[in-house]
């Protein structure tokens, strides 16, 4: 299967990084590099990005999102939780502020629309996994999602159950979205099975497997714009806060500039966005900024690819 090929490469990528340590130039790059494409080769295609919390997509794959949109994709964003637990306000006000900032962040990155599932943060085990799967399948079918971007459901040492649950639900929904007998009643609403053919799975922890490194050098400003909208969580206002704190001490930092907006952006650039030269495992790909994924190409199965290869080398004239 195509997936096995991806995984075997990824094992090499991760083991190489792990054994030689972060930033060790001796580790050979084995993951595929996805460079910016010329023009808009993905025009007409749709991707859906799914995350549990306001700041996960911008932080872990905002650059790739901006790149794919630039290359012609139409993108949609799904948030699974209501983010009620973070923000320092009451539950209801945390939900309200996150809701508003989520829309602003989506607009900053260029998403066409946002779907909110509003499950309660940190209470994912209350929920029926099949219900969430059913809702995601509905969204993937309705939008005709060709590509889905979400968490790697096999992230190591991920403490946040919302992320693991979302990653697993997305993986299952992608698998079943094209199947006639899963949620067949959606046809009654004019929503028909549609196969997801590519997946980008990001990890929140270094050391996890990856087989694709995406060059986001040309879209880094878009990523910074998106993170800057994540104010209640995600560090979007930390630059301004630091500038104010230093000013109270009679100090300043040149990189934070002369106003809050500049301070926020530069804080994000210098302290939240690590250039790939310092990010474990992808420092030896020669890219200024990069994001890494486990990428799955389901456009053809391993069997189909094997048959094609075999035909190329073995087919004879009649």
């Amino acid at each position: 299967m195509g997936k096995i090929n991806n995984i075997s490469k990824a094992v090499l990528g991760s083991v190489a990084a792990g054994m030689t340590g972060a930033g060790n130039a001796a580790a050979a790059p084995v993951a595929e590099v996805e460079s910016p494409a010329n023009g808009r080769p993905h025009r007409g295609k749709v991707f859906v990005a799914v995350h549990a919390h306001l700041d996960d997509i911008p932080r872990y794959c905002g650059g790739t999102i901006a790149k794919l949109l630039k290359e012609g994709y139409t993108g949609y964003l799904v948030r699974t939780t209501n983010d009620e637990k973070i923000g320092g306000l009451t539950n209801a006000n945390n939900v309200l502020v996150h809701e508003q900032e989520h829309l602003n962040m989506a607009k900053a990155l260029g998403f066409k629309d946002v779907f909110e599932l509003y499950t309660r943060e940190h209470r994912v085990h209350d929920i029926s996994p099949i219900e969430i799967r059913g809702r995601l399948i509905f969204i993937f079918r309705y939008l005709k999602a060709d590509t889905v971007i979400s968490y790697n459901p096999r992230m190591n040492c991920e403490e946040d159950s919302d992320r693991l649950f979302a990653g697993k639900a997305v993986e299952e929904a992608c698998h079943m979205s094209g199947m006639d007998n899963d949620f067949p009643e959606y046809k009654e609403g004019g929503v028909y099975p549609y196969s997801v053919s590519e997946r980008y799975c990001f990890s929140t922890n270094p050391g996890d497997m990856f087989n694709r490194v995406v060059d986001i050098g040309s879209t880094i400003e878009g990523k910074i714009n998106a993170i800057a909208e994540c104010k209640i969580r995600g560090g979007g206002v930390k630059g301004a806060e630091l500038r104010k704190e230093l000013a109270a001490q009679g100090k300043k930092l040149a990189i934070l500039g002369n106003n809050d907006a500049a301070a926020n952006r530069e804080y994000i650039r210098n302290f939240i966005m690590k250039p790939s030269s310092t990010f474990e495992g992808i420092d030896n790909y020669g890219l200024e900024y990069a994001e890494r994924f486990m990428y799955f190409d389901d456009r053809k199965t391993g069997e189909e690819l094997a048959v094609e290869d075999y035909i190329k080398t073995n087919a004879e004239k009649l």
Partner: protein, 354 residues
């Protein structure tokens, strides 16, 4: 399956239920009025036939404002939609195919929703049973004049392991997509109901009827153009093996009894009806006997077996209300609209400022 013991019917004055929801075309029967005058509680004793192990409950409380719903001429309900929700493929034919046929005749578009895949039913292997029963859904729908059957395919007798939120979500979707006005299913308060598929179906249907009209439930359906749609009427059919059902509506199915019989014939390979008439006729023939009511052909045997034997309890119920055949329900009509009452009050009582 052993037939449960049924007590004689009991009567008690029930609470006033939904008086504002009575359909315009109903009236109470004379026999009911007479009975009510002679006894403070509504008492009806009718003899269950004992032929049908899955008949209606005999231990019911008849609401003192019981309504009898007769057939209505013309098609006053044209444009409206009902769904009949059954956990199993023989539930609608047995319990409510008379009402389904009547509503279709009166203009409704009807659909069946079948919750389980019947993997525990039917003759042959699991796969054979499932495939055979799946074919019959279409025949059952056709017999009642309904458009189609939508199968949700949960595993039979395991519905209580399914998260009720998933059941609700899928029903909410269907109620919205099909724009359902009226729902028919098991009474959620069937006492001592042993079959988990029955009560899970009913428990999930109740809130789904309400949430289908909701603004913030499943907003992604709205984004796909499938807007909220409130279910306005529910007919719940009673099946308490023991304990009481509160019945507030008797539906006259005299005109559609033959359609009910045909719907039950379509339940081949499982349930008490189907082709059991012809099977009995053939068995008796092998023993050198015959039963006159089974007629001279297999088709006659199937039809007459069901009509003369299995439908006897619905015939007995009907006779108590001056009808040939009747089905009993707990009916819940459109929600009480407090706002229009307030508007009326304002209209009547508002006075000039000075």
């Amino acid at each position: 399956m052993e037939r449960r013991k049924f007590f004689g019917s009991t009567l008690a004055g029930g609470a006033l239920l939904g008086s504002k929801s009575a359909r315009a075309q109903t009236k109470q029967s004379d026999s009911f009025a007479k009975t009510k005058k002679s006894n403070p509680f509504f008492k009806v004793d009718y003899e269950m036939s004992g032929y049908n192990p899955f008949s209606i409950s005999s231990d019911v409380i008849f609401d003192k404002d019981l309504v009898i719903e007769h057939a209505v001429k013309g098609q006053p309900h044209k444009g409206k939609v009902f769904v009949a929700i059954q956990p199993h493929a023989d539930d609608i034919p047995l319990y409510c195919s008379g009402l389904c046929s009547k509503l279709v005749n009166e203009g409704y578009t009807g659909h069946i929703i079948r919750m389980t895949n019947e993997d525990m039913s039917g003759r042959g292997t699991v796969g054979e049973g499932m495939a055979y029963i799946e074919l019959h859904d279409a025949n059952i729908a056709k017999a009642c004049g309904m458009e189609k059957s939508i199968d949700l395919n949960f595993s039979k007798h395991r519905l209580e392991t399914v998260h009720i939120q998933e059941l609700k979500m899928r029903l909410v979707f269907l109620f919205r997509a099909l724009k359902v006005d009226t729902v028919i299913t098991f009474d959620p308060y069937n006492s001592y109901e042993e079959n988990p598929d029955h009560w899970m179906t009913a428990y999930a249907t109740m809130p789904a009827c309400w949430h289908a009209g909701g603004g913030k439930e499943y907003p992604e359906f709205r984004k796909a153009g499938i807007d909220g749609h409130s279910v306005r009427e529910k007919y719940y059919y009673p099946r308490s093996p023991q304990g009481h059902n509160i019945i507030n509506r008797i539906v006259d199915i005299s005109d559609v009894i033959d359609q009910k019989v045909k719907a039950n014939i379509a339940s081949v390979n499982f349930g008490p009806a189907g082709i059991n008439g012809s099977v009995l006729r053939q068995r008796l023939a092998q023993e050198g006997k015959r039963l006159p009511i089974l007629g001279n052909t297999d088709d006659e045997a199937n039809f007459n077996y069901i009509k003369d034997l299995l439908m006897e309890d619905w015939h007995a119920l009907g006779k108590e209300f001056g009808l040939e055949y009747a089905e009993a329900y707990h009916y819940i009509g459109p929600d009480y609209d407090g706002y229009s009452s307030i508007s009326e009050y304002v209209e009547k009582n508002a006075v000039p400022l000075k």
